[in-house]
Symmetry: C2
Subunit: 236 residues, 2 copies
């Protein structure tokens, strides 16, 4: 899609990309709050007002970075999942979990941008939800594959869902994994929030007094969560 017709369009696309790249660079240095349009423009040899031809506001630049980050994380996770034999559902689960962590530790400020607190006055536009759901869809897809393969074990301690929660789970299943039992979907969601909660704790310094470095704790919890959703232990 780089065959933008006119030279002007190609230049615009290129500069837009350069702005995002430079902004990402600054993000890595000083975080979302430290991202300054003026500094980005300065670094690019232009004046700050010119930047507004490309992004109508600082928040729009941030939104573009957020979508890019969601997509980058989603893509590496999808690739990690794709790199494991389809039947080895537990291996896929663990590979995906570790891909998420590796990406997050590699670009902590971008992780912070998407999974940290929303920046001050910023309100996430709906454009982000498609990109944001890629990781959840990978994990749910693994569980779905295990379910359709019949290898998913239903742990004994699972309670029946309360009516409201069952309804929410049904609606969610209908949109995402129609055949998946609602309890399993909720378990996957519980596991998902554990994974990201653990990661946020690690990256935001909440774990420093306890299990730090957190590699092994992360690995152990990812296994526990695989148990929680009922993934079988080993490739057949």
């Amino acid at each position: 899609m780089n065959a933008g017709r006119t030279a002007r369009e190609r230049a615009r696309a290129e500069l837009t990309q350069e702005i995002k790249d430079e902004a990402r660079r600054q993000l890595a240095l000083s975080g979302a709050g430290g991202l300054s349009l003026r500094a980005v423009a300065r670094e690019l040899g232009m004046v700050s007002s010119a930047l507004y031809r490309y992004f109508p506001s600082r928040d729009d630049l941030l939104t573009a970075l957020i979508i890019d980050a969601y997509n980058a994380l989603g893509e590496t996770t999808e690739q990690a999942d794709a790199g494991v034999a389809r039947l080895d559902v537990r291996g896929r689960w663990l590979a995906s979990c570790h891909a998420v962590r590796a990406w997050a530790k590699g670009q902590p400020h971008e992780y912070t941008l998407i999974y940290g607190s929303p920046v001050p006055g910023y309100q996430a536009p709906t454009d982000t939800v498609a990109a944001a759901s890629r990781v959840p869809l990978v994990l749910i897809g693994i569980v779905r594959d295990a379910d359709t393969a019949g290898t998913l074990s239903a742990p004994a301690d699972v309670r029946p869902l309360t009516p409201v929660l069952a309804e929410q789970a049904d609606a969610l299943a209908a949109a995402v994994a129609p055949e998946l039992p609602p309890q399993v979907l909720i378990s996957a969601l519980t596991a998902l929030t554990q994974i990201f909660g653990m990661l946020s704790f690690e990256l935001f310094g909440q774990l420093v007094g306890s299990v730090d470095p957190s590699d092994e704790f992360y690995a152990a919890s990812a296994e526990r969560m695989a148990d929680l959703v009922g993934l079988p232990v080993s490739p057949p």
Copy 2:
């Protein structure tokens, strides 16, 4: 401790408190990034430079608010735990979890301040760790009580810890709950990160497409995590 001797000292303590209160008020309106020293000073009828007599920088004000927030959350959680019969460990666990959520939903910006992404250049001073560990200590205390009462069930699917993780768990146990088996402590940590991960997802809008409102999902996950750490189901 209000018996500050001189009038000047009392005035200083009062004004310090008023500054924090006004800052908290602004926090509730616009979040951490929107907190402006000048606005706080303006609202208090003083000039911005005068505020620096009380807090040497914006970050110091934020730190004070962070410690207050940790303590407020810690206190309400401790009270929730204390309100349940000591032997009803599952009831205490659930009450504590719901107290955390209730507090967080009541003051979302203060929750964001402490469990969201650290604000840009901000580095958490060590003063905060004591306040920050109150909630973890409540939850671990519940598990410890269950363990010493002998009512803690060891789930079958618990794997032995890897050497490094076992070492970390031992060190942590020594500091926090010496008699607690390391596996149990790690399970509690996994559960803790699930709770806060789920809460952050809810408050930061990551759950809007799925289980929203999240009351029942939160309740169900809190139960699952109680299972995970091995808390017995009901008062004896």
